[in-house]
Symmetry: C2
Subunit: 387 residues, 2 copies
């Protein structure tokens, strides 16, 4: 046949339009003979029976594969997108880690064959310091607030946010990051020309300007349920770690969380009220064997993904109180003095459990500090310290 593609990129685009990601037989074929030859094998039926059955409908619909490739190229260019394939300088090499976790039970976890991207940046560079923020679509106001401020502070610190394109946590994360001028990467389960859902259209327009839309599926692919689950592995693999902000027990975010842990990337979660069904899934993560890390602030996220030797999150600020400046013995004596009463040294020493001589010295010092006053040879709390 002369009407077959001779460009590996075109061949991978064609195959991506025919066979869902993670087909072990197709990937083996690609590894053995390369994309151009793989297309020829498929069109000439020189392939295993199962792969033949899966591709037969598409082969039957496509009289001229080269024309089909040209149509895919046109559709790709028409929406301002381009296609990355393994080996391109811009291809994120960390996607290869998916080879470590895919197996015969979970072939869909194999690395993507190619990626459609829309945006001016360099995907590999953008993801070099990146954190995924994922969570429920049906997020609470609290969850969206947390995702937004976390993403904003990560952007401020120079970290890219990776997420899906859904309403709820995904959207809040993108908006938070872009609000501080940070780049964000939205990995989609549909074609990049019409990202799903349409209600996020204006956000996708901004992402194309400031960050990047990414998809394994060619333009005009619809966002099927199983594609979201397949897509999740790419989010987990691109980023150094994943923060799950809110998730019910059924949320797809828990699926991304599992991939993150299996990929030995850092799995984190932000807690919420135990009374909120939106947080049930994240709290469960903490009790699963993956040892998800609890994070409350961007500094803690950065501490966790950079690991030992990275920046340590500072302790949350403590409120100072005047009492803190007293020594143990000083504090005991002040407390042994009941408000509005006077006491002699002996009784104060006994009540505070300190030697009389120590009590006498300490009370003098406390008078200098303005804590106690003498009244007719006995001690009382200074008025200035009485609240």
């Amino acid at each position: 046949m002369t009407n077959l593609p001779d460009d590996p990129r075109h061949a991978l685009m064609l195959l991506s339009s025919m066979v869902e990601p993670g087909d072990a037989e197709l990937d083996d074929l690609l590894g053995d003979v390369g994309p151009v030859e793989a297309v020829r094998c498929i069109w000439e039926g020189e392939i295993p029976e199962r792969l033949r059955r899966i591709t037969s409908a598409a082969v039957a619909c496509t009289r001229n594969p080269r024309e089909r490739c040209e149509a895919l190229v046109s559709a790709t260019e028409a929406c301002g997108s381009r296609v990355l394939i393994p080996g391109d300088p811009e291809w994120p090499e960390q996607l290869r880690d998916l080879l470590l976790i895919c197996d015969t039970d979970e072939p869909h976890l194999r690395p993507p064959r190619c990626l459609w991207v829309r945006g001016d940046g360099d995907l590999a560079a953008m993801c070099r310091r990146s954190v995924a923020i994922v969570g429920a679509r049906a997020a609470s106001g609290y969850g969206k607030h947390v995702a937004q401020f976390l993403a904003a502070d990560l952007a401020e610190a120079g970290w890219t946010v990776v997420s899906g394109g859904a309403l709820g946590i995904d959207r809040a994360a993108h908006m938070g990051s872009m609000g501080r001028g940070g780049p964000t990467v939205a990995v989609l389960a549909s074609g990049v020309e019409q990202p799903y859902p349409q209600s996020n259209r204006s956000m996708f327009d901004v992402i194309v300007q400031k960050g990047m839309l990414v998809s394994e599926w060619p333009p005009c692919s619809s966002p099927m349920k199983h594609r979201f689950l397949t897509r999740n592995r790419v989010i987990a693999a691109l980023a150094a770690g994943t923060v799950v902000v809110e998730a019910g027990m059924r949320s797809g975010a828990r699926n991304t969380a599992r991939h993150t842990a299996e990929l030995e990337r850092v799995l984190m979660f932000t807690p919420g009220p135990v009374t909120s069904s939106s947080s049930v899934g994240v709290h469960r993560l903490a009790r699963e064997p993956w040892a998800a890390r609890l994070v409350t602030r961007a500094e803690e996220v950065i501490e966790d993904v950079t690991g030992i030797g990275g920046p340590m999150a500072p302790e949350p600020p403590r409120q100072r109180r005047p009492f803190d400046d007293l020594t143990e013995v000083q504090a005991r004596l002040v407390e042994a003095l009941p408000l509005g009463f006077v006491r002699d040294e002996g009784r104060l020493a006994a009540a505070a459990g300190v030697p009389v001589v120590t009590a006498a010295e300490t009370l003098d010092r406390l008078r200098e500090l303005g804590w106690v006053e003498l009244q007719d040879g006995r001690w009382r709390l200074a008025r200035s310290k009485v609240k």
Copy 2:
């Protein structure tokens, strides 16, 4: 001297009224010669210089130690309390574990010398299956709600709640447990005759009926700041594990948490909103090296304190959806059918990435299940499934 106590219990009561818990020199003396002889040594000055200085004020105030003991016995009986000492059948043996964590830097962590108790139960029996619930006084409505329902469900499951006597989390825990008829143990930093704070007086009255008030200090001892910190080790040591419900960075509950971990008991916390200052301290626990366990329900607490072999907390209930009953291929085909359009089998098979023959069989099955309908030889979604 003939006016010295000859009953070890009376001697320990007297010593407790003179020297704060955790004095290493006094405890060594008690270990060497016993309480009766220790009192004699103190009154006759046959003790190390430091201990002599600490006790001198009290010795000087107490002309007749035996009379002082009788006064302590009267005060103890007057408020319906009694004194437990090590060796009593009712003495909680687990307090001995404190010997493992006290050292010269933290002598105040030594086991108590004796305990005043108010209540009809048996303290050792009551604490055999017990969990401590502690947290901030300035708790939020959320925190109090969590403490209360956790304590209630623990009581229902036959577990005793141990806590302090403060407003906030302590109070909510006691009320929750007693509301379900559970026994609770309140460990105080003041005498048992007038538990602090007074605003909890009616609660303390109920605890005396249903549970037990416990203190290391004799009646009429006031609740000094350092006594709360000293008291915390007893809460941690009595229970099989401690749940911290809400705590600011400065809360004494964090101190109880540290003792719990050092005692190798189970340290747990309930999370809250990251935006709440009341939860900052508990979230910090999760990031400290103590490996505090996140818990959201009483079942999880019981799972954690009973350890391997104990009851496993059931998975939180999942919401079933109609889509869940479909196989992977069935779901793909349903999703490949756009709402309001009809499609032939070949196109559906290509869109869903399944062989045509499989698509045909599966579509027939989906028609039986009521998901799809035939219209002029092509398929569309059944109206009943269109929301």
